[in-house]
């Protein structure tokens, strides 16, 4: 039994299921490798060369190099794994999450202090909330 269609009906959200997991397997396993200091150092010294050691798609490698988290998510990344890239860059979870919304870091922090993003209009695709737009990716910039 595959996961119900309703999991694809949430705006601004990619549910990490077995399909995404298969697609993103090596992208996520690459991220895991960054838990080791030696690997972080090698990655930082030459990102392209380090990424070429992994069975990732070219698209995935480019998304990593441009630090485009939404793109990485679409290509099978999972946020807990992708956060290892952020940790390597010295970024907090709030900076990472905020960067996926198209908001500035300050605006995102303000939103959280003000109680967070409202659920109203953000439950289902096609409603009128603030998370209904397409994911901001590096390609749009």
């Amino acid at each position: 039994m595959s996961l119900g269609k309703e999991f694809k009906d949430i705006p601004g959200t990619i549910v990490f299921d077995s399909e995404q997991s298969r697609k993103g397997y090596w992208l996520n396993q690459f991220c895991m490798s960054l838990m080791k200091a030696d690997n972080r150092a090698r990655f930082k010294a030459n990102e392209r060369a380090y990424l070429d050691e992994w069975k990732m798609t070219e698209e995935q490698k480019l998304a990593v190099m441009s630090r485009d988290l939404n793109r990485m998510m679409a290509l099978g990344g999972n946020i807990y794994f992708l956060s290892k890239i952020g940790a390597t860059d010295g970024k907090s979870f709030q900076q990472m999450a905020g960067s996926m919304t198209g908001m500035t870091e300050a605006a995102y922090r303000e939103m959280m202090v003000g109680g967070g993003r409202s659920i109203e209009g953000n439950r289902k695709i096609g409603e009128h909330g603030d998370a209904q737009g397409a994911a901001p990716t590096g390609k749009d910039k």
């Binding site: 996961l3 601004g12 990619i14 838990m35 907090s92 979870f93 905020g98 967070g116």
Partner: protein, 284 residues
């Protein structure tokens, strides 16, 4: 015989651990979060549990995509705090209870809950942050801990109903252990939060508080809620809240005992990206 005296529910936000470790607990932003645990620290000193059965999830720390157990019980003697990429948290090692853990595993597996057994693992913020909140800064943790990990990373994750039933089986297993032990069961994670995509930052205060109400008064009804509701209403990472139902299932009202007493309840937004929820229920 071993007895479950209370269940504890708490968020396990990594930034809370970082604030704790870097001495920021008195900064106004963090003080609001830690104030919710002032009661709890005093309470734990009075309760003196021997063992905490601690339900949490690993966040791509010890379990990568190469191994994804749905339910894993840690039967080893000792567990180190993990390096999650920022260096390991400066907290003591976690001392297990291999005898009780093995007893629970043996009992619930024979009741058809097919657990994975883990003897060596580093434990991440999901486990150590609630411990810091509940016990404060210590040289050694005041009790033994049986870590119990639930997959809430790759869907399908276990349902609330399955977690609730498992909690009841765990309760029966603990109560059949011959040694006289004071045991608490903790459920951690949540509350509403989403860390990914354009909907990141989602908080659903109304839903969270209804969840707390129902957890107290209507756990059976709450356990019937489908996983899609958690993801839709409480955010993609809000699904962690299914783990709270394991702890709730372990309370004795579900085998005909009196309703648990609400010793403490706390809710605050935000800590980093997340709504902080915390509840203590005592068995009557």
């Amino acid at each position: 015989m071993a007895r479950i005296t209370a269940s504890v529910y708490s968020s396990h936000i990594p930034a809370v651990g970082a604030a704790f470790d870097h001495g920021k607990t008195h900064e106004p932003y963090w003080q609001k979060v830690f104030s919710g645990y002032e009661f709890s620290k005093v309470w734990e000193k009075q309760q003196k549990p021997d063992v905490v059965f601690l339900v949490y999830n690993d966040h791509a720390t010890a379990f990568s995509l190469s191994l994804i157990p749905t339910f894993a019980i840690m039967t080893g003697p000792e567990f180190q705090p993990a390096d999650e990429g920022y260096g390991a948290r400066p907290v003591p090692p976690v001392i297990g209870h291999p005898e009780l853990a093995s007893h629970i595993a043996s009992e619930v597996i024979q009741k058809d809950f097919d657990l994975t057994l883990v003897n060596e693992i580093d434990v991440d913020h999901g486990l150590t942050v609630p411990m810091s909140c509940m016990f404060g800064k210590v040289d050694a943790w005041p009790c033994k801990v049986i870590p119990f990990a639930v997959n809430v990373v790759q869907h399908p994750v276990p349902s609330g109903a399955r977690c609730f039933a498992l909690g009841q089986a765990i309760r029966a297993a603990i109560e059949s252990y011959p040694e006289d032990l004071n045991v608490q069961v903790w459920g951690t994670g949540g509350m509403s939060h989403q860390l990914q995509g354009p909907r990141a930052g989602l908080i659903n205060r109304e839903w969270d508080n209804a969840f707390l109400d129902r957890l107290i008064d209507d756990p059976k009804g709450l356990a019937a809620m489908p996983n899609i509701d958690y993801v839709r209403e409480a955010g993609s990472e809000g699904i962690e809240l299914v783990m709270w139902l394991i702890a709730r299932g372990a309370m004795s009202d579900l085998r005909g005992g009196p309703k648990p007493k609400v010793a403490h309840r706390f809710y605050h937004v935000p800590a980093s990206n997340t709504a902080v929820g915390h509840l203590i229920l005592e068995n009557g």
